[in-house]
């Protein structure tokens, strides 16, 4: 099992790459989309946004091999391995999500992108097949020491119930000139059909490019957000994804925090089930208190989740992939985001190593 760190593209500075190593990371997951363009939508290091989302996704330029290879060079110069990219750019695939007129053309672009990712030697492409995206969360001082963390206090908030308008997808605006009207709603089955088509198109290319596709569950995991259906908002719904295609390149970006927020099911059974199948491409690990529609993210050691037990299950099933803290509450100091992530990394490093078989006498005693 490997410990990694997630960084946004605008944070890929030599200093931050070194910081990831200080935090014990050997591998990196990179977000190439800038969700932070609108300063007012960023709360305590996380994009939260308003009804217009996180900002405008207007970079239509596909990701070239040269661009990816350049980033990889910087990452490797810092002594790290680039394991995964997280999330497509909404500007590159909005009509795939919305079944719009440019769907076929955008699909061809994504195929070339996957080829470039494979050529650049990046093992995994994480994606979130979601129309409304990570929308509807509110930031509250709900973590230890009144640290700010995202969550929700009921599903009736206008941030969740207001229909998403046209020109938006994935909590960003791809067309600022779209008419001021609501994007029509669709059924859950229709959303799954769109995903099935996408997988049918992308998986053969991913397989020949040596890239693993990894689906993130819906965060927050409600059946509907902003009048749009969600794909994976209960544990068992991940199985439907796997049933669509048995390809080893069809896998999971397993966000344990989001899975723990889901209204049904036992999180440890869920982790055991999917790690035993060997379908997890990488893991997001954070803690949370409560379940939808009443939950808040917490520090790694204070929520409902027993992180020690999580690692025991991962070791038992010989999970050998990457674990990253996807986010953490910000801390009251000169570097709030960095300190929050560092605290989580230190905790995860100690848990990961001390729960490893042979990693402690306790394990042998058991």
């Amino acid at each position: 099992m490997k410990l990694g760190f997630g960084l946004y593209r605008h944070d890929l500075t030599p200093q931050n790459l070194q910081f990831a190593r200080q935090c014990g990371a050997t591998h990196l997951v990179v977000h190439l989309v800038d969700y932070f363009k609108k300063p007012e939508s960023v709360q305590h290091g996380q994009p939260v946004g308003d009804l217009d989302g996180w900002g405008v996704a207007d970079n239509r330029t596909p990701w070239s091999y040269e661009m990816l290879a350049g980033i990889r060079k910087d990452i490797e110069a810092a002594g790290l391995t680039w394991e995964a990219i997280e999330n497509f750019d909404p500007a590159h695939w909005y009509d795939i999500l919305l079944d719009g007129p440019q769907k076929a053309q955008q699909m061809e672009t994504l195929k070339r992108t996957i080829q470039n990712i494979g050529k650049a030697g990046i093992a995994t492409m994480g994606y979130n097949f979601s129309i409304a995206g990570v929308a509807g969360r509110l930031s509250r001082p709900s973590a230890r020491g009144e640290a700010e963390a995202p969550g929700m206090d009921g599903a009736e908030d206008p941030m969740i119930t207001t229909p998403m308008r046209k020109g938006m997808v994935w909590n960003m605006i791809y067309d600022p000139d779209a008419p001021d009207e609501a994007e029509p709603t669709i059924s859950h089955d229709e959303l799954w059909e769109r995903l099935a088509w996408f997988l049918q198109q992308i998986l053969p290319i991913a397989a020949e490019s040596g890239v693993h596709m990894a689906l993130h569950p819906d965060d927050p995991p409600l059946p509907m957000v902003r009048n749009q259906p969600r794909l994976v908002y209960q544990h068992h719904m991940y199985q439907r994804l796997l049933d669509l295609d048995p390809s080893p390149h069809n896998g999971l970006e397993f966000c344990i925090g989001t899975l723990a927020e889901m209204s049904e099911g036992d999180i440890y059974d869920c982790i055991d089930t999917y790690t035993a199948k060997g379908v997890i491409k990488y893991i997001h690990l954070r803690n949370v208190r409560g379940r939808v529609p009443h939950y808040h993210e917490t520090f790694i050691d204070e929520g409902d989740l027993d992180v020690e037990r999580v690692f025991e299950i991962l070791h038992k099933n010989q999970y050998d992939g990457l674990v990253i803290p996807d986010h953490a509450p910000s801390m009251a100091c000169a570097a709030p985001w960095h300190a929050g992530m560092a605290f989580a990394m230190g905790y995860l490093k100690a848990m990961l190593t001390s729960t490893a078989p042979g990693g402690s006498t306790w394990k042998r005693a058991r």
Partner: protein
């Protein structure tokens, strides 16, 4: 939140903490604080006010140290003013006790505050962090730090005079004193003998003090710097003195290798197995403060270290529970 293990995770706090610093401690889940300050803060009022402030944030004030009375050349070398310093120390102990702060750390090195005798170069540790490096061979070339050679007998004499004066006051005031080992632990440095770089030094100090209020502030890092020259390794030290209830405080830090040359590292990046350290502490029934001491880098790296310590503590506590159930 009180930990079921009794091991209290602590960190250094500034003498006049801001709201932000207090929040940062709360967010890290730190149980206790250690403050280093100067002589004007050795008053009862400062101590009780500070203790109350921290308590209102759920943080126990474990220790207030006075830099003027700690590793002070006048006290270590027996210079003019020795008696006055000892009297100041007694007043300080009385104030600590009255303010309900039951512990302090003492160390007996004359030149640790003189940088060349503490650090011979700035090294680099994981992720490019600048860190303290010490090379014993370079340190041999250093000039006398205090004008002449001071023998071990002389240093023992000042320690003995000091500790015999202050221990009765400490007992009366209800304050425990933990002796910090020499850092680095060398027989002599800058011409001044060092006497607490071997387990025998600790044994002798305990005999001299002959008090239930006298014990160890065991610095894992300093002890690791000495390697095989210390008489007992750090795990053995914990079992040995922990079993006697003589461990009061632990500095939980790591180095890359024992001398002749060492660099301070992040907690998980040195040659000491910190899991085994914590396990030994839990097995020994240690109930004192566990400090990261000086972490290479800044507050971000401290947050990493505290997160690491909290996870390791949770593990050794769970392990002890499993063993108890099996027994």
């Amino acid at each position: 939140m009180t930990s079921p293990s009794g091991i209290r995770i602590a960190d250094r706090m500034s003498p006049r903490p801001t709201k932000q610093e207090l929040e940062f401690f709360q967010q890290m889940g730190i149980d206790a604080a250690s403050i280093w300050t100067s002589l004007e803060d050795s008053t009862y009022q400062y101590m009780v006010d500070t203790r109350t402030l921290l308590a209102s944030h759920g943080i126990d004030l474990f220790n207030i140290g006075i830099l003027d009375l700690h590793c002070d050349p006048t006290m270590v070398l027996g210079l003019d003013g020795f008696s006055q310093k000892v009297e100041q120390y007694k007043d300080y102990l009385r104030n600590l006790g009255r303010a309900g702060i039951g512990y302090t750390t003492y160390a007996h090195m004359a030149n640790i505050k003189m940088l060349p005798y503490y650090q011979t170069a700035v090294g680099v540790t994981r992720g490019g962090i600048a860190t303290r490096e010490f090379d014993r061979e370079l340190a041999r070339e250093l000039p006398l730090s205090h004008g002449r050679q001071y023998t071990a007998d002389e240093i023992w004499a000042t320690f003995t005079a000091f500790i015999r004066e202050v221990m009765p006051v400490a007992e009366e005031a209800g304050v425990r004193i933990g002796l910090h080992p020499d850092d680095p632990p060398l027989p002599t440095l800058g011409g001044v003998a060092r006497i607490f770089g071997h387990v025998d030094g600790y044994e002798r100090a305990l005999e001299i003090a002959n008090s239930p209020n006298f014990g160890l502030c065991l610095c894992v890092g300093s002890w690791a710097e000495g390697g095989a020259d210390m008489g007992r390794d750090v795990y053995d030290m914990i079992r040995h003195f922990g079993g006697q209830g003589k461990l009061f405080k632990i500095h939980f830090r790591n180095v890359d290798a024992p001398m002749p040359r060492f660099r301070e590292t992040l907690v998980d990046d040195g040659y000491i197995d910190m899991y085994e350290v914590l396990k030994a502490l839990q097995d020994a029934g240690f109930t004192g403060a566990l400090l990261p001491d000086h972490v290479p880098g800044d507050g971000r790296n401290t947050a990493y270290t505290i997160g690491y310590m909290r996870a390791m503590r949770a593990r050794v506590v769970a392990e002890a529970q499993v063993h108890a159930e099996q027994a």
